[in-house]
Symmetry: C2
Subunit: 324 residues, 2 copies
């Protein structure tokens, strides 16, 4: 069970370690959107994504004996880098099981942070099987990417910060658009906002072809994505909402939103030009939804979480290419 108390504990553990990321805005972005857009820039977090919060929360919250041989994570990249850094800061080894097709900066980043990266073929191998074997052989503690109360609590500190920053900005009522893969960030933010800023309504945002959370919320039960889709939003292409995260989303979230890959690239270009932020496609999906689906969002202010910025230079430049 995840609770506000756990989020507050995570916040105390993260104080002085993680960055309280700024809530940015841009008059020209507001003009483009026709309403005020406030952007929570988690791409500026350590390792370039909100994931460090959950990883740090999990490692500091687990029994010292459980983690003494090191930790293990499955990850498309951002969670892996986060666990790698948190492990290094704890002085313990980290093994990250990543798909061979993960973006090079994410693989390189985890290695540069001292982790052992085990690549697997997404089509023919099971990361769970590789992980279970490695974990057993070496006595490693698994740090799940989202279905872990400590991880959800860490991500929830984003919500505590949004609640406080929105209050200071005079925003009592607005939708809060949150990129959503397994739902750890959206769940944590939802719990925090429900307690601290009930006028702020969390809404998960997903790539069009991976809208399992949107459909699950609409149906009131966990439904999966089809298996044959593709999206450039590598960070958030999960198969089905989490077992622990979905009940939280169901209780607290507004309807899900989707954005096309093309809209994500355009949002990356807008973030480059108007906010001077580097976002990755999955990290830009909430901004993309805000810009491409304005008719689905009420009010004169919307808050979007920009959740990550680990993108290779080629794809980034493809996104900003349309700009002069």
């Amino acid at each position: 069970m995840s609770s506000l108390e756990q989020i507050l504990t995570a916040q105390r553990r993260l104080a002085g370690v993680a960055l309280c990321t700024p809530l940015l805005h841009s008059p020209l972005l507001d003009g483009l959107a026709g309403r005020r857009i406030l952007v929570k820039a988690e791409s500026l977090q350590l390792t370039g994504a909100f994931k460090f919060r959950g990883a740090w929360s999990a490692l500091t919250g687990m029994d010292e004996r459980a983690r003494r041989n090191g930790v293990l994570a499955y990850s498309s990249g951002n969670h892996g880098q986060a666990v790698a850094l948190a492990a290094r800061m704890h002085g313990i080894p980290a093994v990250i099981v990543m798909p061979a097709h993960a973006p090079a900066p994410k693989i390189d980043g985890a290695r540069a942070l001292g982790a052992e990266v085990v690549l697997y073929d997404h089509a023919t191998e099971s990361r769970e099987e590789i992980g279970v074997r490695l974990g057993r052989e070496r006595g490693l503690a698994l740090v799940r990417p989202y279905d872990d109360p400590l991880v959800i609590a860490g991500q929830g500190t984003v919500g505590l910060e949004i609640a406080e920053q929105a209050r200071r900005a005079g925003v009592a009522s607005a939708d809060v658009l949150v990129p959503c893969g397994g739902g750890g960030l959206a769940a944590g933010v939802s719990l925090a906002l429900a307690d601290r800023a009930p006028g702020l309504r969390p809404r998960p945002c997903e790539p069009e072809a991976f809208d399992d959370t949107r459909r699950s919320l609409a149906q009131g039960r966990r439904v999966a994505n089809g298996g044959s889709q593709h999206s450039i939003c590598d960070a958030i292409v999960t198969p089905i909402p989490g077992e622990l995260t979905f009940p939280i989303l169901r209780d607290h979230c507004g309807p899900g939103l989707v954005a096309s890959d093309r809209a994500c690239l355009q949002a990356m270009a807008v973030a480059f030009q108007r906010l001077r932020l580097v976002l990755e496609p999955g990290g830009a999906v909430a901004l993309a939804a805000a810009l491409s689906r304005p008719e689905c969002i009420p009010g004169d202010t919307v808050i979007v979480v920009a959740s990550g910025g680990n993108v290779d230079a080629r794809l980034f430049c493809e996104a900003v290419h349309g700009l002069r």
Copy 2:
């Protein structure tokens, strides 16, 4: 005369208007540099550069009657956008005199913010003459880019924030590398640090071919740059240190540092990859100096100001092209 009291006044006027920008760091950047690098990300400031602080300070500090017909600025771009926004927020017109070869995002940005942009030919026309004529004809108040106590005071708020953020990070002693054109930012930061964090030593950073401040500091008097040089650091290629700024720099700064254009491009790539920041060449010059001249910097920690991020997509992608 500029004073700490003026900076504190500017800080009060900027509260809730400008962003308190974060002091970022990256474990992988630290590894690359061989010391801890703390990056004050003023590229995230409104209009993408620290300049908004000075412009807001000047407009709010000037007599209401002086500004009622509007304001005028000469600018290579960042000061112009800042004055345009500050004027719009005051509900008064702004005229910005900009070189025709200024980066398109800076010209477009000022126009999009509602300013009238008057372009001039850098080779054949005098921006001062154009400005004096326009100012007289229309009764516009000139907002100087750096030689104005109110502007220096506004930029000095960056120094107040650095002092506080360094204290929280446990840094009592370090060099603070500051991009330097006319010297408004360096002067303001110097005054603030001298009072609030005397263990932090400000050092102006310039492009190799425009090191007038470094040479002026070495000689104890204002000396000019040669006229035939070029640099991609468009934001900070001024002819000579300011009349008001130089005495402040002389009293408070350590030796100046320089970086090549190539080092600035490399620093932009590093900022993209390790900090997920979009920096323009002139905004990256302090980071470039930290990375390319480590032997000139003492200590295990260095603070660098990343002063701006208004760069066109083509040049930015040229900078990050070397990355995978």
